[in-house]
Every structure is written in structure tokens, then in C-alpha cells.
């Protein structure tokens, strides 16, 4: 077990300065700010070797690697289901130079001064601090997916759940026949969630995402991603659980993201994450296949084959059969 006095000092001085009055300090914001502090210190030439990775919601300090680097459990600072601890007195560092100490203090004061109302102590401000991390996001795709597509889908879901009952019914006639029977009364028709413009906007986001997908960096997911992309286009057409499908893909992407984009994580931890990724990928692949089969059944109901398509299909079947006989 090694010790990293610069890291311990930075964490403790940060907690001391960030929350002097002992208010509730949530783990999310604490994590995001620590990573921000680490990156700023590194830019100024001091590497405190904070072990962190990119994951589902921005950056996360890894507790196992933290303990391995400092000999202190991260839970000591952020007890489970409780506020980050309060540190009324200044830490008393050893094995750390005066200039290192000064630099850490300066950067912490500067970082906290950017939030003069101590907005980081407000639990509903978490997203703002996730955004802080995203300024350093290594992949354009990651930003576009997590900070653009998912919020857009969340917004659309929120809209469909929160508009009033009267607004959810279009005051339009379902058909001329129904209008005839209804006489002077307006016939309400349930408005299906997404209109054409919403659908076009999502498809445009998908078209942009496919250009940004990091084919080399995330090659283990390239095949799954392309399959997800077409499945998601079907889901848009059939208005099927869009947010869930996007979040599920983001989940598996994040499993790989933490393996590829991290700093100061122990080798053992990375191996553990690789096992997690393989297990999750196999589970997700099956789930995606089931979703795809279900959506294709919906699609089939709307498809009609012409002779030209039928001929091409048979050509594909012949190719497939040839492949089977070769094996």
C-alpha cells in the first residue's frame, strides 16, 4: 500500500474549504469538482495522480484505485448514502513541499471562487458539474450522445408525460365516417408522442452521431453501434421506448469508456472492468437482438415486396446459404 500525500492533501484541503459550514455535500458534485481540480493542477505542472475514469455520468473517482494510491478508503471522505464529511480543521500534511501546498491551495480557492454562492452544495445543481467534466470529454461522440441526444429524448418524454389531459387529445376528427356519426361533437384522438418534426430531428442527430462514432478508439463496439443505430431508427419510426433504448446503449458504451479513458487506475481494476464489459456486452447483444426482432415485426406489417426486391432477397439468401455450406 503506497501513499500519495499530494492527493490526500488536495482532497482534504478541498473538503475543508468547500464546505466550512457543514452543509449536505453530495458525492456527485464532489467527484466532478475533484476531477476538475486534478486537471487544472496537472495543467499547472503538478500531477496529484487522482485515479478517475469516464463513465455514464461524466467522471468518477475510482474508490479501489484511490485506496491503493493513498491507503485511505474513499468512503472515509464520502460515506455511503451520506454527505461528504466535514473537515473543520486544516489538514496537516507531511512529505509535501511548500510550493506544492501553495499551488493546491491556490487552485482550490480559484475553483471554489467560480461558484461564489456555493452552488455545488445544492443537490439540484448536479448536472452543472457533470457539464464541467464534459468540457474535457475525450470523444465528440460521447458529448453528442450524452449531452445532446439523451437530454433531447428526456425532454420529449417529459413533454409527453406532463402536458395536461386536454392537451394530449388532438381535437381533430379521426375519419370522415366518425365525424359523420359524431355530428357536431368534436372527436378526440390521442396524439401520438412524436410528430414528424421531432422524428426528423432525432434522425438528424443519428446521422451526425454516425459520423462522430470513434471507430478506431471504440472498435469493440463498432458492430454493436451500427446495429443499435438501425434499431433505434426503427424505434423512432414506431415510437418505441426511445429514451430506454438510448440509455441502454449508453450504458454499454460507458462500460468500454471507463476502460479506454481513465487515469491512474490500477492494472487489476482495469482487468476487472474488462471482464465486466465482456459480460455486459454479451447480455446487451442479446437484449438488442430481441428488441430488434420485435421492431422488425412491426416493420414487417408495413412492408410490401415488389418483384425487384424479391429477386434481391433471393440473391442474398443464395449468398447466405453458400456461406453456410462453406463452414
Amino acid at each position: 500500500m503506497s501513499e500519495n500525500p499530494q492527493l490526500i492533501y488536495a482532497v482534504e484541503y478541498f473538503i475543508h474549504k468547500a464546505n466550512p459550514t457543514g452543509e449536505y455535500f453530495n458525492h456527485t458534485t464532489f467527484n466532478k469538482l475533484l476531477v476538475e481540480l486534478y486537471l487544472r493542477l496537472k495543467e499547472r505542472g503538478l500531477d496529484i495522480k487522482l485515479p478517475y475514469c469516464w463513465y455514464k455520468h461524466g467522471c468518477l473517482v475510482d474508490s479501489i484505485s484511490f485506496q491503493s494510491a493513498t491507503g485511505i478508503s474513499l468512503m472515509h471522505y464520502e460515506p455511503p448514502r451520506d454527505s461528504v464529511i466535514v473537515m473543520p480543521s486544516l489538514p496537516n500534511p507531511h512529505n509535501i513541499t511548500f510550493s506544492e501546498k501553495t499551488l493546491i491551495q491556490e487552485e482550490i480557492k480559484k475553483l471554489l471562487a467560480e461558484h461564489p454562492t456555493r452552488s455545488y452544495l445544492k443537490s439540484d445543481n448536479r448536472e452543472e458539474y457533470v457539464n464541467l467534466n464534459y468540457k474535457h470529454a475525450p470523444l465528440k461522440f460521447q458529448k453528442a450522445f450524452r449531452r445532446s441526444l439523451i437530454p433531447h429524448l428526456e425532454y420529449l418524454k417529459h413533454l409527453s408525460q406532463n402536458i395536461s389531459r386536454s392537451e394530449r387529445w388532438d381535437l381533430t376528427f379521426v375519419s370522415e365516417t366518425e365525424a359523420l356519426y359524431a355530428g357536431d361533437m368534436m372527436v378526440p384522438r390521442f396524439s401520438s408522442g412524436l410528430d414528424i418534426e421531432d422524428q426528423k430531428k432525432i434522425i438528424q442527430q443519428l446521422d451526425d452521431l454516425i459520423i462522430d462514432f470513434p471507430r478506431k478508439e471504440m472498435r469493440e463496439l463498432y458492430r454493436t453501434y451500427l446495429r443499435w443505430d438501425d434499431t433505434f431508427r426503427l424505434a423512432v419510426k414506431h415510437q418505441d421506448n426511445l429514451l430506454k433504448h438510448a440509455e441502454d446503449f449508453w450504458g454499454i458504451f460507458a462500460f468500454l469508456l471507463r476502460i479506454k479513458y481513465n487515469e491512474n487506475i490500477t492494472g487489476e481494476r482495469i482487468l476487472e472492468w474488462q471482464d465486466d464489459f465482456e459480460r455486459e456486452l454479451s447480455r446487451y447483444t442479446k437484449e438488442l437482438k430481441e428488441t430488434r426482432e420485435r421492431l422488425l415485426e412491426l416493420e414487417a406489417a408495413e412492408m410490401s415486396y415488389d418483384a425487384n426486391t424479391d429477386r434481391k432477397l433471393k440473391k442474398l439468401m443464395t449468398i447466405s446459404r453458400g456461406m453456410a455450406l462453406e463452414r
Partner: protein, 221 residues
């Protein structure tokens, strides 16, 4: 007479292309006769909870080719890039990603006079239609055609070595033994296969060893 179906009967049915084998497979699978097969055949074709079957793998590979082509077109908006990519795959015969749908892409390209958006639309539709057709036929075989898939015989069945001296392919040996075990319970079982070289041509040597009444090539249906 009850039938025992070898894997290539399912192959002809699932990847139906209207040729003689496809039509014969369809006739067998749609026939009102009692139909049997085994878990060995089922797993080889359709996989199990751990591993994809051969057919699913192939369908996935073809679908992947469509998706990769769409990816290229979306990025480059130029059919020439896709041609170059496809060509590079074709030239490298060891490459698993060998482009098998190149001719179809060319056909769709000329039908749409090079309009990328239309080409992409047609490619996407065709990819989905292919998958829908395969899924429908696979589901048919698995659930709607009344085929009884029996547990596989043990791998160290006493007939293994004797049959192996006639039949080169180990998987074929296992399927024949599965049929032999089913034949103990179901009388007059007819083994139906599309494997002429390894099984049909050797039926005179194989048949006396097995508890089945006949070996019949698929084309005689």
C-alpha cells in the same frame, strides 16, 4: 412416414431462394408427416443460450455488411469511397469482412442513378427485409411447424467410431447417431438430408448400422 431432418433441410428453408433445394426443403417442412430432429441440429443451426447458431451468425454477417456500407455512405456521401473499401476487402481473401453484397450495392446504385440518399434508403430497406424474412422462417421452424427436437445422444456413443470410418464430418456422425436413437422410439424413420457426398452416397454402408428405415436425399422430394 416419420422424418428425421438433417441441418441442411433447415438451411434450405431458412435461406429460401426458390431453387430446387429451397423448394424441396419447404415441401418437407410443410409436409403433414411427423417430423423429428435433434438438439445437435437445432444448436448447430440456431444456437443456444450461450452461442449463436451458424444461421444466425451468417445473417448477422450479411446484416453487418449492409450496416457498414450505410456507415460509409453516411460519412462520405460518395459511392466511390464505398467501392474502394469493398474492393480492398475483396482483394484480401483472408479478410472475414469480405464484401459479399458488392453486386447488390452496385445494382442499387445504378437503379438510383447514384443518388446517395436513395441508395441508402434502398440499402436500409433491403437489409431489414432480409432480416425479417430470415427471422420469420426461423421462427416458423422453431415454433410453428411441429418439429420435435429430441435430446442429443451422448458424445461417446458406441457407434461413433464405426460411423466415423464411413462419414468424415464429425458433426454428421453425431446427427446420424441422434437419428439412430430417435429411430429406437419411432419406427420407420426416414433420415432426410441435403448432404449427398458424405451421407446419401454412402447410405448402403451406413444404413445397416442404424435404427432408421431409409436415408433420402432432399432433391427426391
Amino acid at each position: 412416414m416419420p422424418y428425421f431432418l438433417d441441418s441442411n433441410v433447415f438451411l434450405g428453408y431458412c435461406f429460401y431462394n426458390s431453387d430446387a433445394m429451397a423448394e424441396a426443403s419447404q415441401r418437407v417442412i410443410n409436409s403433414p408427416e411427423e417430423k423429428h430432429s435433434s438438439h445437435t441440429v437445432y444448436h448447430e443451426c440456431f444456437g443456444n443460450t450461450v452461442k449463436n447458431g451458424r444461421f444466425d451468425e451468417i445473417q448477422d454477417e450479411i446484416s453487418d455488411e449492409f450496416f457498414r456500407a450505410l456507415d460509409y455512405l453516411q460519412r462520405e456521401k460518395d459511392i466511390e469511397y464505398l467501392r474502394l473499401y469493398a474492393q480492398s476487402l475483396k482483394e484480401n481473401s483472408d479478410n472475414k469482412k469480405n464484401c459479399r453484397i458488392c453486386d447488390i450495392i452496385e445494382e442499387i446504385n445504378s437503379e438510383n442513378s447514384g443518388d446517395i440518399e436513395l441508395i441508402m434508403q434502398d440499402l436500409r430497406s433491403l437489409a431489414r427485409e432480409y432480416e425479417i424474412e430470415y427471422n420469420k422462417r426461423k421462427k416458423d421452424v422453431m415454433a410453428h411447424k411441429g418439429i420435435d427436437f429430441h435430446p442429443s445422444a451422448s458424445n461417446d456413443h458406441p457407434l461413433c467410431s464405426t460411423l466415423a470410418s464411413h462419414v468424415a464430418n464429425q458433426a454428421d456422425v453425431h446427427i446420424l447417431i441422434d437419428a439412430h436413437e430417435v429411430g429406437k422410439k419411432i419406427s420407420s424413420l426416414v433420415f432426410i438430408t441435403g448432404d449427398y457426398d458424405d451421407i446419401v452416397k454412402k447410405k448402403d454402408a451406413i444404413l445397416p448400422l442404424l435404427n432408421i428405415s431409409r436415408i433420402q436425399g432432399i432433391f427426391s422430394f
